[in-house]
Amino acid sequence: MQPFASIADLGRGLARGDYSARELATFHLERIAAADDDLNAFIHVTQERALRAADAADRRIARGEGGPLTGIPLAHKDIFCTEGVATTCASRMLADFVPPYDATVVARLAAAGTVCLGKTNMDEFAMGSSSETSWFGPARNPWDRDRAPGGSSGGSAAAVGAGLVPCATGTDTGGSIRQPAAFCGVTGLKPTYGRVSRYGMIAFASSLDQGGAFGLSVEDVETVLGAMEGHDPLDSTSAERAPTRRNGARSMRIGLPSEYWTGLAGDMGECLLAAAKELEAAGHALVSHSLPHTDAAVPAYYVIAGAEASANLSRYDGVRFGFRAEDPADLDDLYRRSRAAGFGTEVKRRILTGTYTLSVGYYDAYYLKAQRVRRRIQQDFLEAFEEVDAIAAPVAPGPAFELGAVDDPVAMYRQDVFTTPASLAGLPAMSMPCGFVGGLPVGLQLIGPAFEEGRLLALGHEFQRRTDWHRRHPEG
């Protein structure tokens, strides 16, 4: 058995009886045991449950009832509720929280026959771009253990990048799937807002949060998305749409927005431009254009995400679930000390920022202003998509940075400059490996119109048939 096999190959191996789902799970559990003290990609490894699920998958395959994901190991970001399995959101607040129900994403992937091996590390409450704010310590980058895997879904990206699981779930609020995918050299898709149910996905910023998938190829990500997506009566913001199918014209117009492409450091710029040229060589036209409000995305995002976070995180009160302070003097003391001890500093900064922008006298100047800027950014994209079929852009200003290197919150927020615009506009966006700078993977971002994931998958698949960047894996 070899790591880094595609889901389709693993499915064929299972169908032929080359190995059982139990053997496949055991193989990956052993890889996790060997690597994870170092990588810290997992918060919990659920070995016994995994083997039970694998046995069930083997019985299903034996009955001839297996699907494309039956028996395929995966990991869930620890933001998705798993019934009977601790779900921490990488916070002390939820360190002992065992949900009484499954997230829809978890239930659907289980119904498809996947075998969950564990829950992956992340930034606390998904607030970060490096997976360093985790209560359980930082996850590390499989290409260089001294570097961050990106965030917030850094554990999922690192686990796939290191070959510990063939695929994993993640969530993306302002770039939390795309940026770690780029940093770890894997493919990651943030679907259109509403494509995937948010039920049971611990809320951070509800008008932005969206579940998605990591894999070793566009094809694998498409397979996982196929089992996750679709309307869910338990999430009224989930959309009723036809399932995603890879589709795209033979010749598309691909926009290169000047705001994203100017000012990139030399090697990054060259690497990304070569990737865009590859799409041109495949028969697509590259078109320069402008998304003029791009620079306002990070400020507007940090207003909206902070405001929504301050409201969403008010539920952590030390009463109904989560961390509770000892011997409270009164109710306010219980709330304050439970929250003071349960939340880390970055979470507190976000709550305080959100409380500020929502408070009397600032609401219009900050919160409503940010929502107006949000519409400007959305209009930029709507106008662009009258001229182009998809947009190609960098994911991040550079490759993975060293752990601890970005220690100023504003500098960390600015890492999200190329990912927050599509988030604010609710658009599907994907990151895929497109080269290396200084031995570290670089990701190319493709952004499409709402519910046109199929177009991104078609372009990405074509790119991956012409290149082998996604087949490069770290040693060890």
Partner: protein, 93 residues
């Protein structure tokens, strides 16, 4: 951002900061406010605020009972309960 504003925000959001945290957060919030102020440069005259990224209305479902709340199961995740109730410090004398 000054100490007085931070005290008010901390109280409103039911948080507490250690003196060391307070010093750091005060400085950080100043920088964060400067960052978010960058968007003030954008002309948004006459632009409607966008609350839902795809501008969709909130759909309503049929008003019917779809699930039974299993009280014991949901209380089981609470840190402190008694007789099927959540426990909080005394709020009335």
């Amino acid at each position: 951002m000054d100490r007085q504003t931070l005290d008010r925000l901390t109280r409103l959001s039911q948080l507490q900061l250690s003196p060391e945290e307070e010093r750091l957060v005060l400085e950080d919030l100043g920088h964060i406010v400067a960052l978010i102020d960058e968007m003030q440069a954008i002309d948004t005259e006459g632009v409607e605020p966008l609350a839902h990224p795809l501008d969709m209305d909130q759909p309503l479902r049929h008003d019917a009972v779809t699930e039974a709340v299993d009280r014991a199961r949901f209380l089981a995740v609470a840190p402190l309960t008694r007789d099927g109730l959540y426990l909080v410090p005394k709020v009335v004398e």
